[in-house]
Amino acid sequence: MRSIKKYLVLMSVAIFGILQQLQAQSDLQISKAFDQYGERKGVVMVELTNEMLDGYDFSLFKSITIKDNPTASEFIRKCLAKDEIGAKKVKQVISNGIPTSTYLQLPHKGQLFRLILFSETFKPESKITLIYIESKNDSEDVLKLILKRK
């Protein structure tokens, strides 16, 4: 009986650990891009939680901007392709046959709307921008506000 108790305690600790791990990694492939490239040179990574940002009320805002890195671009595109599978809505801007902007509206996480925004520009320099947003506001409204910024 003692061994069974030991086994059950170990199992519960393991399950707890796995859940914590899941929380840290998030359920999205793009989290790998933040982990892999976030702290490199030529990269700007930002994380803001529960902050007002120019009128936007974001529960979580994560962004990464990478310059002149075709490998990162390819990697992020692959991650996006996987996250696209679980997305509620996918919007893309294709320029000269290449998707230059991708907007993914993801399923809710609790009461939060989730969005992924991706953009790649080639002029004047090659630059990738990837943004992940969690907000209490409707992702459609958030998206419209962001797209009309300029």
Partner: protein, 156 residues
């Protein structure tokens, strides 16, 4: 040494085999047969020594009794821990953390962080009106309504 058994009737075969066994003449097949015969429950008490020799009583193993209650109690405890961890993960607000990594260097200056956050938002916002318009027209409900309207004539 020769031991003579005094059983009669139905037990002749057992006696014969026991005699042969004590004389060291039994084959493995006969020993197997003897073991089977000795495992009978209706044998007289006088066969008990042979039954002990052949380990009939020893092989009787105690049946393990499966008790559900302790498993249930510990299972409930584990389930409670799992549910608690899940709730913590899903319903607890994300820990406040504001930071930025610029060229590998970390900063926690909120103004700097916001400036970079806004710069990244500018990068993904629309560069031209055409794209912006295309998004404005991307109202899925309207598109679906238009598509369904095309089929409405078929019902008449």
């Amino acid at each position: 040494m020769k031991i003579i058994n005094q059983h009669s009737g139905n037990y002749e075969e057992i006696d014969r085999l026991i005699d042969r066994y004590y004389e060291g003449l039994t084959s493995s097949e006969e020993e197997k047969q003897l073991r089977n015969l000795l495992s009978r429950k209706d044998l007289p008490e006088s066969y008990k020594p042979e039954q002990v020799i052949f380990g009939y009583f020893e092989t009787k193993k105690q049946k393990r009794i499966f008790m559900l209650q302790p498993y249930l109690r510990w299972g409930t405890a584990v389930a409670a821990i799992v549910i608690m961890a899940f709730n913590l993960q899903v319903f607890m607000p994300t820990n406040a953390s504001n930071y930025a990594f610029i060229d590998g260097k970390k900063t926690t200056n909120v103004d700097d962080i916001k400036m970079h956050a806004l710069a990244s938002l500018n990068n993904v916002s629309c560069d031209n009106e055409e794209v912006e318009k295309s998004f404005d027209s991307l109202n899925d409900k309207e598109i679906m309504k238009e598509q369904l309207d095309a089929f409405s004539g078929l019902a008449e």
